[in-house]
Symmetry: D2
Subunit: 261 residues, 4 copies
């Protein structure tokens, strides 16, 4: 079964900052889609903020198995209706990989329910990601750690819920630590947050980081059919109860009535 | 240290439905505040939907240690700005007890990031809440279970994140089960969801349910000072790094600049 | 890649109790191995208590991807050295499916670290397992619940650690509930506990239960290479530290010395 | 209510190594008990390996609310029966604080069910513990981090189960990271593992570390009555079922019979 991955990028700095343009001439999304597309069983396409509906119309999301999200300067420009659409597809089973500054993106904050804040420093310092569980599917082929010569520091406290699993913890030259690989489940959808990816360093060209992202796409893919009514709260009428019962006590609803939302 | 509990209620059915009015003549909030207020070290007040700012101006929330939330028919009338205010106070450390149909309230959905949907049936059937961990502070004084002669069925799947702890699981006469007591941490705030509480049955008059709510208020109280900047993402300048480092590599931000949100 | 499943059974009641013999003439292990072996990509064999080393010599475990465990009356006859061997293989990455009364088996208690106690009743009552997360790999093809006309009641409190995921919760005719499907990770190994399976009812002949066990075997299989030194605590010598440092302060160990255990 | 804390130490290096003796002339246990005993509402005593029953007879454990455990060289000398006794008391509700090299102690491995292995280096390097959740009771009064000028490196992967909460993550001068503060619940007992404490550095004289240990003792204290039958698996006879049922189907046990273990 082919996994349909969709790489979303706000695509701003690659057009307005010379350093970033030199590293990602066609945009971060293109670089990521290119290495994903070379993998057997993965099909990768892209979408960006300036496209109509940010490139994320409903039909497109419905045909997406795993969405990758990179945003930084333009979080506020992402329309709330699109954020809601993304969240709903995650609840139905679409995987989501949130990259770097995407920690402050609307979809991630929507799905975490927390501030998703952290401490940061842009000093090009060394970062080393340690694999906490070497047997996890997301770290296969990595070894015990990944060393990035230049990285933006993201430091604890990282205001997210306790994760399902802590996959990576980062060490920084300047003295901080960060839970840089975390997994979550929200409804039927699996979520992976990956820390590194500052746009002024060639991080998505790094072979081990590429390996992690490929692994994460496979991990986040839920082959079960979309759970399209995941948000519905169906009434189970008395005569459809698994055990035979009779109605008793007071009542608000008339038989067959919908619940309140 | 006195715990300042605030009981919020949409206060609709108690004014428009005779059955409910007979059980809670002054409103569910009043009943809950009354039994809470009798406890040593707890001070309880109330707020309702029709009040200005739904009775939840910023100063009031700032002086609240634990907020209790009951809503059902009027979830949609709660203003988004107030919901955001409540969520922020939870992140800063305010406890939150979400009751019954509050599973579909805006603050709970905002803090969970999931649909919070479930299956339901209003048949007045018997519910039995089993304590999964008898040593948990929330179940002290309860025994191994609570039996409610009449209750609304809330059934799995309940679309919430995996909890920190499963405190209660309910059995229903009609054949369903439900995780009816769940704890969460969001930022500095502790959250407890309690299933029972349908307004046509006298559930908040039940001594064991009252005991659970009193216990939950004490459990959810975080005595630490409010974490007021929990959502801030402060820059740590290079010269303030815990370890001495020098800036290297490309850069987006000028020294002293704020990050993007 | 073929998954090598090994079904272990104490194989006592099938030889000494007429009711059980009629249901499982060749033993529970044979019934389970038979339906597993029909699945594409699964190869199933069996081992029993009376065999030398309980049928679990080291080489055999080393060639096992997923071990299934059924025991009841003879937990105490399982040798501690074999229990340790099983636990070590789980730590290295072998999957483990613990069935029914295996909750009190030595390997399960060894891996949980808790009493694994529960309440029980043998009345042949109806059990209904509700799928808490319908999109989980273990519940694919099941629908929203499984109904067993006759089952042994296992009731909360079930003294196990909070699971990674709650997959099933059971309802019983007699009024109890039970977390009857739970996942855990211990080292590199994935563990699934499944509640139903009392030997006097034909539960492992039930098509949905068979589907759950097949799904669980696939889920528990970790394709990563065995983490053979998972229990080692290697010294990282000063000159092999990722960052250049020099030794300072007092010391217990001489260079190159092993740590204490 | 006074919390009865008991500090256990193998008490070996303080008698045989001059460096350690100079730092802890009366033993690590004495130093810890001394600062604990100064706290209001905490009463601290000590026990050591050479005492009869390692200073941990049943009556003593029964009167202990929180046990602290420091061991390193002599893990193997702790008798299995005492380990079992400690684990049972934790299941019943006694708190347990495991310190430093206690990661490889028998009680901790018994309660975790995992290898509890890690990587290590004794180079006296700098360690900085970052508070992941600043509002957690265990980190009150600490600020955002603790800096230790000399420490033994303990590095990931740390082979323990996913914790209830990650309280501290450590940064090391030599380039590693470690989850140095973790909470668990096992039965009715709360467990806290704290990383720092190598015996050749004066770590338990450090005011912030002392504050963490005091906080942890208060956090781990479960005021509920001991759950003395936590490991029992009581039969619930048919006529005592919460719902009226009648026995049906085959049976192994005669009425009133005990279950197997």
């Amino acid at each position: 079964m082919t996994i349909r991955a969709l790489v979303w990028n706000e695509f701003f700095h690659e057009q307005h900052n010379e350093t970033v343009k030199a590293i990602y001439p066609d945009g971060i999304h293109r670089t990521i889609a290119d290495f994903l597309g070379k993998e057997e069983g993965i099909e990768a396409s892209t979408a960006t903020l300036p496209e109509p509906e940010h490139g994320l119309p409903q039909e497109r999301l419905d045909e997406t198995d795993v969405l990758l999200w990179w945003g930084h300067k333009a979080h506020g420009q992402v329309e709330d209706a699109i954020v809601e659409r993304v969240a709903e597809r995650v609840h139905q089973g679409m995987g989501l990989i949130v990259l770097h500054s995407g920690h402050f993106s609307k979809p991630f904050k929507r799905l975490m329910g927390t501030p998703c804040s952290l401490r940061w420093r842009e000093a090009g310092e060394r970062e080393r990601l340690w694999a906490v569980n070497r047997s996890h599917p997301i770290v296969q082929g990595i070894g015990h750690s990944i060393e990035l010569p230049n990285s933006e520091m993201y430091g604890e406290p990282f205001l997210v819920p306790e994760p399902l699993e802590t996959v990576f913890i980062s060490w920084y030259e300047g003295g901080e630590v960060f839970r840089s690989g975390l997994t979550y489940q929200r409804g039927a959808g699996k979520i992976f947050y990956l820390g590194p990816g500052h746009e002024t360093y060639p991080i998505y060209h790094h072979p081990q980081i590429q390996r992690v992202i490929v692994n994460a796409v496979r991990w986040a893919h839920n082959p079960a059919a979309a759970w399209t009514d995941v948000a519905a709260a169906p009434n189970v009428p008395v005569d459809k109860a698994p055990e035979k019962i009779e109605r008793k006590g007071g009542s608000l609803h008339k038989p067959g009535e919908q619940g309140y939302r």
